[in-house]
Each structure stands twice: as C-alpha cells, then as structure tokens.
C-alpha cells in the first residue's frame, strides 16, 4: 500500500476495484463503511454485487476481464473534461502525451460495449474520483489475477497520476495484500530475481555484497517463478522441490497438470503445519510450529513490520521453520546458519537490506515500524511517493495500455465465465478449514449463479451440478443469487473436496506471471442423469 490503513478513514472518495474488501480484509472494509456513512463517496467496480456495492454511490458492473477498457474510458473522461491535475503531471510525471493518444483513440461507446457499463456511469465515476479529494484507490486479486494483470495495475496507477491522487495522506493507490505476510515474503527476497529489499540478483555490486556477507558464490541469473516451476518439473528440468507452507495442489491454476508434474519429481520435501493435499504426495514431511509457537515478524499490507511472539510451546514434536532450516543447512556443512533466535536473524537482515536498516526488535516492540526505515533514528514511512517515485528518474510513469480480451473467452460450448472469489470465513484453506467453527459457518463450496442462467439450465437452488471447463470437471452445490450477473458464475477455492482450480486457466500474465484465476470459460450440467434409472449418490449414509 502506498498509504497506511489508519489513513483510510480520512479519505473523502474511495475507488474500490476488484476487491471484496468487507469479506477479504474485513477490518479495512469496516473503515470504508464508516467513512461512507460519514459522507465519503464510494465508487465500486466489480462484476459481483459485493457488500460494498450496496452502499456505493456508483457501482460499475463491468464484465470480468475488461478492467483496462473501463479504466481507460475513465481516463478519457478525465482528460476530456479537463479534470486533470496538470501541474502534478508537469512536475512529477512522464509519458502523458503518448497516453493521451492511446486513450483518445478509443471512444466511450466502444468501452460501453466491451465492459457492459453505460457511458453515463463511467463518466459519473470518473468525475467523482477526479474531483473529490483526498481520493484513494483500493484493489486486490480482482485486478491482478488476470492474464494481463500487470496492465490492469498500470491502468489503475494511471488514473491516480492523472489526477495527482498519490503521495499524500489518505491519497494513493493501495493494493490489499492477501496472505498475512505476502509483503514480508517479497521484502525478504523469496523471489527469483531479487535479494532482500528488492535488490536485483543481476546487479554485480549487490551480488558482491551478499557474497561477502554469506561467504559463497551466488548465481547471477534470475530463477524461475512459481508458475513456471511446474512446467520445469514436468519437463524434468527441476528434479527436487522444497515447499514450506504451500499447497499448490489446492491453490494453483489447472491442478490436474500440477499433480502430474509433482508425480515426476525425484524429491519433494514439504514443511507444513498440516498434512495438506500436497504434503500427502511428499517424500519427507517436516512438521512445523504454528505462528503461536514461535518468535518473529510479519510485514502487513501497509509495510508495517510487527512482532509475532511465542505464546505456547510447540505442539507435539514440531519445530519452528527457522530452526528446521538452520539444522538442515548446518547438516549440509553450510556456514552462517548458526542462529539462536529470530532476533539474530533480523540483525543480519537489517545490515543487508537498506529499507529494513532501522528495524530492530527493540524499536518495533510496541506498534511496529513502516519501511522504508533506513536507520535506527528513522521514524518509518506512513505513505510513499511524497517526494519522488521509485523509478530511476524519480518521476511517475503514465503508461499507455491498450485493452486486450481475456486469454480464454466464452463460446457456444463453454458459455459461462467462471470467476473465483474468497469467503469471509476462510483464507486459502489450510488453516481456516481446521477451525471447526469457521467450517460450520461455510462448510462446502457454493457455486453462485444468476437466476436467469439457473432458469435456462433448469437448475434449482442447492442442487449439485457439474462445472466443466476445458481442463476438468468439479462438482458443486449451486446458490442461485443475483450477486453474480447473468453469464457469470463464481466459486471459491478453499475446499479440497471441490478443487475449483482444476477448472481455472493457467494462462500467465507475461510480466507478473500470475495465472488468470478470475476468468475462465465453463459450462454447467445437471449432475443427475435422468436417462438412467439410478438416482444420484449412494444411500446417504456415507
């Protein structure tokens, strides 16, 4: 996030796109809710009718996968009606002219056709966002999980740059990070192309620094990204895989392929809290301690590094992940893994990572610190880009983006769009599914389908149906509701019993390499085949 969570309540205009905030980030959702009740404006762009749509001033119900067309149309309105922040663009941005050209080449009626949103609404939203301040944009997976997710993100940023809605309190572009420590995992260099703090592995200076600190030679070529791993495993290039706390069999797109790839591995080590679907395929399973059984830090979506503290002794014969890693590394004869506590590890991180330079356990004891925090005197950074952007020139880049349709489109055979969502009660699944109460609240998959489609298919509410894509079939119970528009159905991916990701499409965004979870073409069939006498499933006893 460019801003802090606590700044959200002070914004006067929200543009929420591709985020069901009240369900996925409830505590942030509430703040939007409170601000809107206090008179702030709310624009929501979402194909599904989320809770926020109900209190929105403008709800843009665009077709899944048409975000760029929508955002460009908004930009066009902003340019046409001279709602730009021209001095901001002049002082701090590059690329406006080229952008203007691309955007003006598209007229609004084309956008209306593609997105399904009336021109009137697009203009209203654009005017509202451009003219009310402080204005802030919030987005989540609904923007990134597309074959052109990087384009989506840039198109969002363009809007903020055009209107100067960035780099001030309560004003910015705020991606809501999913898992609790996604931010931290990125910061720590659990990425194929960078060390900690986004320092590039290709940079010889940086590499030298790490080689000296770690006392070894380091590879200069960036590694594969997660979504390419399975390709490489399938083709035999990668033979051994070590997974910590991940369950790709449940969470990756096109799981059929993933499982086949895993079966070709020579060695699979899984380190986790539970025997997940993936762990069941492993050669070695190492039982890890949970967050309540170890010390450490998490970094949240607003870049705040906060303490995690050991509350209880490790349950059973488990060990904290850091301890297991140290032991394996030392057993392999490696130096530099003789840590006795996470605090010692943080001391090493801090010397090698400029943005974490001032993070010590002592300083973050109370309420944490927001990076960049270069030294132990620095108070942390509540919002980014106040002075300069992180581009080499320090100027914001307005990038022309043209719309391209989703990688998979509907056709006669697969007439419906499937888009995935999350439930309030679960997060991915491994943890929350083990909480009896959370399971009781939402114990099985629900396929949301619009009454129009349900009627056409003669499907009843709660009926079990087959959802079929080009890649596979899963069973799910239907929930007929107007939450999804006609032509679109939606499912979560929290349930091992219903592996939604067997259906999803593995088309990757060319830059960020994120699979297109949000759009794939499916068809739905009734499960009961009336052509046989046999009615359905078992005796109901098992």
């Amino acid at each position: 996030m460019t801003n802090s969570v606590s700044e959200i309540r002070n914004a006067s205009c929200f543009f929420v796109i591709g985020s069901n905030t009240t369900a996925t980030h409830p505590v942030i959702g509430r703040q939007i809710n409170a601000a809107v009740r206090g008179g702030a404006k709310l624009i929501v762009a979402d194909p599904r009718e989320t809770m926020l749509c109900r209190i929105a001033d403008v709800w843009l119900r665009h077709q899944p996968g048409t975000d760029v067309a929508l955002l460009n149309a908004m930009a066009r309105v902003i340019i046409e009606e001279k709602l730009l922040d021209t001095s901001f663009i002049k002082e701090r941005c590059d690329g406006f002219e080229a952008f203007e050209e691309t955007v003006m080449a598209w007229d609004l009626s084309q956008a209306e056709e593609i997105t399904g949103v009336p021109i009137k609404k697009i203009s209203e939203a654009a005017r509202m966002y451009a003219s009310v301040s402080p204005a802030t944009i919030l987005y989540a997976m609904g923007i990134t999980q597309h074959s052109h997710g990087t384009d989506n993100v840039k198109a969002v940023a363009n809007l903020a740059l055009l209107t100067g809605h960035i780099g001030k309190p309560s004003t910015g572009v705020n991606p809501l990070r999913g898992q609790n420590n996604v931010q931290g995992a990125c910061d720590m260099g659990a990425l194929p192309n960078v060390f900690t703090g986004y320092q590039k592995v290709e940079d010889p200076e940086i590499r030298k620094k790490f080689e000296e600190a770690w006392g070894c030679r380091l590879s200069s070529s960036p590694g594969l990204v997660l979504t390419e791993f399975f390709e490489a495993i399938h083709s035999g290039k990668v033979k051994a895989l070590y997974l910590i706390g991940e369950n790709p069999v449940l969470t990756e797109a096109d799981t059929g392929f993933i499982e086949e790839a895993i079966s070709r591995l020579e060695l699979l080590v899984v380190q986790d809290v539970f025997l997940t679907e993936t762990a069941q395929l492993a050669d070695v399973v190492l039982p890890a301690a949970s967050f309540a059984e170890k010390d450490g830090t998490f970094t949240n979506t607003e870049r705040r590094v906060q303490r995690v503290r050991k509350a209880i002794e490790p349950v059973g014969n488990t060990r904290p992940d850091w301890m297991i890693l140290c032991e394996i590394a030392q057993d392999m004869g490696a130096k530099g893994f003789d840590f006795e506590s996470p605090e010692q590890i943080m001391e090493e991180i801090r010397t090698l990572t400029p943005i974490y330079g001032g993070i010590t356990y002592e300083r973050i004891d109370g309420v944490g610190l927001q990076w960049p925090c270069p030294d132990t005197k620095h108070p942390g950074t509540p919002y980014l880009y106040g002075e300069r952007f992180t581009t080499p020139s320090g100027r914001g880049q307005i990038t022309p983006i043209s719309y391209s349709s989703p990688a998979e489109v509907t056709n006669h055979e697969y007439p419906l769009i499937l888009t995935t969502r999350r439930s309030t009660f679960h997060y991915h699944g491994t943890l929350s599914r083990k909480v009896a109460g959370l399971n009781a609240l939402r114990s099985e998959e629900q396929l949301e389908i619009n009454p129009v489609d349900a009627a056409a298919l003669e499907i009843e509410d709660g009926e079990s149906v087959k959802v079929i894509s080009r890649r596979g079939t899963v069973l799910a119970k239907t929930k007929i509701s107007k939450i999804t528009p006609p032509g679109v159905v939606s499912m979560t991916f929290h349930y091992a019993e219903t592996r939604t990701n067997i259906l999803t499409h593995a088309a990757l965004d060319p830059v960020a390499k994120i699979p297109e979870f949000k759009v794939c073409a499916v068809k739905i069939e009734r499960e009961i085949d009336y052509s046989t006498e046999y009615w359905g499933w078992g005796t109901g006893k098992d």
Binding site: N180, F229, V285, T318, L325
Partner: protein, 389 residues
C-alpha cells in the same frame, strides 16, 4: 484547482480544553463538545453507566447515569449531555441515588440471576452496579421478580446469545451498525417484550451476521458470551496470521493452550477490532490434525524390487523411479533421521535442478533464511512464494 484540492485535505485543529464545568464542586477544564460523563472521567469522578460504550454513539437509554444540572428541572443522562461553559453538575445526592436504585431494580426484576453459573461473573457490569448502587430487597420483591425464560440462541459456532440475561442496553446493536457495519441485529418488539433480534427473528447463524464477535466483546453482561469460555492466565501480544491487514492481537493462554484472542487497542491498524478469523480462528493451533512428527515415505520391498530399485538406495542417493515412489506409505521418524535424510538427499540437487517455494504464512526471518539457504547452499535463484496467488 490543484491548490483548492490541497487545501481540502487540511486536518482538523487540535482540541483545546476551553470549557470549564463544575462537577460536585470541582472545577474541570474540558474540550468543547465533551459530554458530562467525559468531563467526570477527566476529573476522576465516577458516574455509573450501563448503555454507554466508548467509541459508539450514546443513546442514553438505560438512565443509570442521570445527573443534576443546576437551574434545570429534569435530570439528564451524563453520557449524552454535552457540557456548556459554566455548567454546574451534581452527580450524586439522595434523590439521584434513589432514582438509580429504582432503575436498577427494574432491570434486575426480570434478569436471570444465576451468577454462579454465568460465564461473565466477576467481570459483569450489572454485578458491579449492584455493588455500587445496591437495591431495596422489599421493593424488588414487590416487582414480582420472575426471570425471563426465552430460548437461548446457540446457533453460532463461536458464541451464544442468552436473552434472559440481556439488559437491552443496545450496545451490541450499535456495535454491529457502527463498528462492524453489518446491521445484523436490532431491537425488536415493544415494551416488556423488547429484545435483541435479527431480521425476521431468525437464528444468528441464518442471519447476515458475519460472526466478527465485536458485539460479544462489548456486551456488558452475560447475554452475548463466547462458547466454552475459559479465562486466560496470561496474554501474549502478537499479530494475526490470516490476512495482510495484520491486526494486532493478544492471545490469551492457559497452560499450553490458547483460549482466547482479543484485539490490541494500541495497534494503529485495527485499534482493538478483529474479524471472525482473527478473533475465533486460532483453533487450528490445537487441531488434532496437526502434524506432530516428521514423516518419511517408506516403500514396500516387493514394489521396490519389482521396479528394480535397490533396498539400500535410500536414504542418500537420488531416486530413479519417480512414478513409483508416490505409492509408499509414511513412517514416523525422529528429527535427526529426518534432517539427515533431507540434507543428504538435497546435496545431489544443487543448482537449477532444485526449486523452492516459500510461504507467505511464515515470518520474515524464516523467509530470509529460506532464500539464503536456496541461494547460498543450493546455489540457485529458483525461489518463489505465493504472492502471485
């Protein structure tokens, strides 16, 4: 136009204490717009309250906090009466005392007094008021003291609602509207039948309630209480493990078990609030499904020979029959064996034949160590995590 915009972002002026009130003869300086109750708190004067809850609007329904204001005929609820400069307030005299007693007696008259078995006993606001204000037993008996006998709503997996203990303070209703923004519950029915109910009087589970438990946290009595409540013997400050908001929370511990989670009021992210996952989702820590011992896949000797694999082939050497090995079963081993197995096998895969997936659930320190391990020991940059998902 940009300048106008910038001006609009101006913050409010800081509050100054510019209003003087006299409470029980004591002069207090308070910010303009403060209530009498807030002024009394600043002066360190106790006024009993029941339906007041910091952070919510005050509705002034319970009338326990009535106070006298000089030159005004009626008594005024301290929790929602703003102070004026020069106001003279009396918070306690025999008349106020008597009125408070009567109000309290009315509340008590249909309350299900079973304090010994009530999970709230000891921290209950009603008990506190009875101790502070007291009641007249004779008068209470004349009120035909019969406890309500309504069905208890146990449908929610995390908390129960016992309407027989409810004092209709409305805090839960306001919480659900103002804090959670859900509006799942409201005061339904009239007069004596007044009660907290969901839309259409359905059970909580069938309502739109999202089980965030904010109302449970604030209910002053034993009407909304967590299921299987156990009081912790110590609390540990930590961070929620579920989503990127990163709410600060306290885990309540008893023995080696987590028995409660509550929001950390000092944390600037959530200021004491939590959602259903943060508040009630810690149960996975004690799940019987937790892995408790390292596991290594063992193979049927028959199967091995059938596929031409050497009995002594493991541990140590890389495997050669990848499709077969998935069919073995797990055996429990001790940590030394497991570590030995992993380290002696991994040695054979240094370089780009190896790949690693780290976790967004692990700590920063662990993510750092893992990428260091992959880069420095396994000599490859094939490391990623699930940020993309």
């Amino acid at each position: 136009m940009t300048n106008d915009k910038r001006q609009m972002t101006n913050n409010k002026q800081p509050m100054t204490n510019n209003t003087t009130v006299t409470i029980n003869g004591l002069d207090v300086k308070v910010p303009e717009g403060a209530t009498i109750l807030e002024a009394a708190h600043i002066a360190g004067i106790y006024i009993p309250t029941l339906c007041y809850c910091p952070g919510l609007t005050s509705e002034g329904t319970c009338r326990i906090c009535l106070v006298k204001i000089e030159n005004k005929k009626r008594l005024h609820p301290a929790c929602r009466t703003p102070v004026k400069d020069g106001m003279v307030v009396i918070t306690d005299d025999p008349e106020i005392e008597r009125l408070r007693r009567v109000t309290l007696e009315l509340i008590l008259s249909d309350h299900d007094f079973n304090c010994l078995l009530c999970p709230k006993s000891g921290t209950c606001r009603l008990q506190e008021l009875v101790n502070r204000i007291g009641f007249d037993e004779q008068r209470l008996n004349r009120l035909n003291w019969v406890a309500k006998d309504l069905p208890i709503d146990t449908s929610n997996p995390f908390f129960d609602f016992n309407p027989n203990k409810c004092i209709q303070c409305g805090i839960c209703v306001r919480t659900c509207r103002e804090i959670s923004g859900v509006d799942a519950i409201a005061m339904g029915y009239r007069g004596y039948d007044l009660k907290v109910s969901t839309f259409g009087d359905k059970s909580l589970k069938e309502s739109v309630c999202v089980s965030c438990g904010e109302c449970v946290e604030r209910c002053p009595v034993g009407a909304l209480v967590p299921k299987n409540i156990q009081y912790p013997t110590r609390e540990v400050k930590t961070t929620c493990v579920y989503c990127g908001v990163g709410c600060g929370l306290y885990l309540g511990v008893r023995g080696n078990s987590i028995v409660r989670a509550r929001g950390d009021c000092e944390n600037p992210v959530n200021r004491g609030e939590l959602c259903v996952r943060g508040r009630f989702g810690y149960g996975f820590v004690h799940s019987p499904d937790r892995l408790s011992s390292p596991l290594v896949r063992a193979y049927d000797p028959l199967e091995r020979t059938a596929h031409g694999m050497d009995e002594t082939g493991r541990p140590g050497k890389p495997l050669t029959a990848p499709l077969v090995k998935r069919e073995g079963r797990f055996v429990e081993v001790n940590w030394e064996q497991a570590i030995k197995y992993v380290s002696s096998t991994l040695v054979h895969y240094k370089g780009d034949e190896f790949a690693a997936v780290s976790s967004a659930k692990c700590t920063n320190e662990e993510n750092y160590l893992f990428q260091k391990f992959v880069r420095a020991v396994m000599q490859t940059n094939n490391i990623d995590h699930c940020a993309r998902l």
